[in-house]
């Protein structure tokens, strides 16, 4: 069915209020909803809890929200590309919860899929297991991990139709499908908005049921580590 097509990025993020928990798709700078993030920066909404694999770089992606001190807490797996991140953590301005990447992906998937908790081997015998529930199945130890949900999910897709169906391009898929499903309200920034019926029903990565609003946006697609064949 027809979803909201937002007239501007400002309006797309308009409902996101202080103290919201947001999930943001992407791995590094690949597959991030660039313009939705820029709109959040402009909105000056603050005290956000952000769930995303990384936290951008100092001058792009979620790094911009960070620089603007809009983030209170970050849940991710790798935040090493960002100096301001380090500064804020050491200064006690930013709370950080680091979680293994596969655990993060599965926790988000579980959140969208109505699975409250599951067991995974990652983290057993490490500092992550301290104070956590460890349980043995078939002689192997596993950690209990809980599903994650968000008030708002921001994702980026290559194409989206007006019914909210999304397809992603190459490794820009990454965390986007699970994040789309785990948000109470999911807003998709698409490179190309198409009509229902234009996407092959066998090729849709995110079914429209998970998406509440869409907006077309043109992407800079900054490259973090250009590596060429010599």
């Amino acid at each position: 069915m027809m979803k909201t097509i937002h007239p501007s990025f400002e309006q797309a993020v308009n409902e996101i209020k202080d103290y919201s928990t947001i999930m943001v798709g992407g791995f590094g700078l690949v597959g991030i909803p660039e313009n939705l993030i820029l709109a959040l920066v402009k909105s000056k909404v603050k005290h956000l809890t952000v769930i995303s694999n990384n936290c951008g770089v100092d001058d792009w992606g979620l790094g911009l929200l960070l620089k603007n001190k809009q983030i209170d807490k970050m849940i991710g797996s790798y935040v090493g590309e960002n100096k301001e991140f380090e500064r804020q953590v050491l200064a006690g301005e930013l709370e950080v919860e680091l979680t293994p990447q596969g655990t993060l992906a599965e926790r988000i998937r579980a959140g969208g899929a109505g699975i409250p908790a599951f067991y995974t081997p990652a983290g057993v015998g490490t500092p992550l297991a301290e104070g956590e529930e460890v349980r043995t199945f078939d002689g192997q130890e596993y950690l209990l991990q809980k599903g994650l949900q968000a008030d708002f999910s921001l994702v980026r897709a290559a194409k989206g139709d007006r019914y909210g169906n999304l397809v992603y391009n190459k490794t820009a898929r990454n965390f986007n499908p699970m994040i789309a499903a785990a948000g109470k309200v999911t807003i998709a920034e698409v490179e190309e908005l198409v009509e229902p019926g234009e996407l092959d029903p066998d090729h849709i990565h995110t079914p429209g049921i998970y998406v509440q609003g869409l907006i077309e946006g043109s992407q800079e697609k900054r490259i973090e580590r250009l590596t060429l064949r010599q």
Partner: protein, 224 residues
């Protein structure tokens, strides 16, 4: 300059030896940094599929300038291409592959390994925490875990220890350690020296290794 050259030679030597761990028919995950270099030395007669945990099964070579797609990177965030027969998937599916033991081999870097195969490679207390990325999942997922690293740290101290000092990435997860000096297996009875590189004696390896080493009865010397 001489030191840097030495470093490059050492890294290449380790990478070339690590390549021998890859059998034709393997699905392999290569960690960020030195492990990624191993891809450069994979023999052409081996059929190998490289997995990247950000959602690519079938990493190809680096792109020429006109082939660069900003949406196509490896887990080290470097631009790559996809090999013929590759497929893309979500991060959840990618780690399902890993956690479900569908990956035959992972080659990862290490800071410390101990006698029981415990691995530390993600944080140094007091230094900024960058995060563990996918390492904690991979060490429990791939069927065989090979750690490649320098034999000693920059102070000349062994990185192969009785007990790891750094926070662990995984407990009892390492199968084999490859350094520029030796190849060491983690066995039920502790560490076992299986290969020694040319220029080193067994005694020198023992002296530069804090952990106890048994010597394999069929030890290979000057092996790589």
């Amino acid at each position: 300059m001489a030191v840097q050259l030495d470093k490059a030679i050492v890294r290449e030597k380790i990478a070339r030896r690590a390549e021998q761990e890859i059998e034709s028919g393997f699905y392999v995950n290569l960690g960020i940094g030195m492990p990624t270099m191993v891809a450069n030395y994979i023999q052409e007669d081996k059929e190998v599929v490289l997995q990247s945990e950000n959602g690519l099964l079938g990493i190809g070579r680096s792109p020429y300038e006109d082939e660069v797609d900003p949406d196509l990177i490896n887990a080290g965030k470097e631009t790559v291409t996809a090999s013929v027969g590759a497929s893309y998937c979500s991060s959840a599916e990618s780690f399902a592959m890993i956690r479900g033991q569908h990956i035959d081999l992972a080659i990862l870097g290490g800071m410390e390994v101990n006698e029981k195969g415990d691995l530390a490679n993600w944080m140094i207390p007091g230094k900024m925490i960058k995060g563990m990325g996918g390492a904690m999942d991979i060490v429990h997922g791939a069927r065989k875990i090979v750690i490649i690293m320098d034999h000693v740290n920059k102070h000349g101290e062994s990185k192969i220890l009785k007990q790891c000092q750094l926070p662990l990435t995984g407990k009892g997860v390492v199968d084999r350690i490859i350094t520029e000096r030796a190849v060491i297996d983690v066995t039920e009875e502790g560490l076992e020296l299986v290969e020694v590189d040319e220029g080193w004696t067994v005694q020198e390896i023992k002296d530069s290794t804090e952990a106890d080493l048994k010597v394999h009865p069929n030890l290979l010397e000057a092996s790589f």
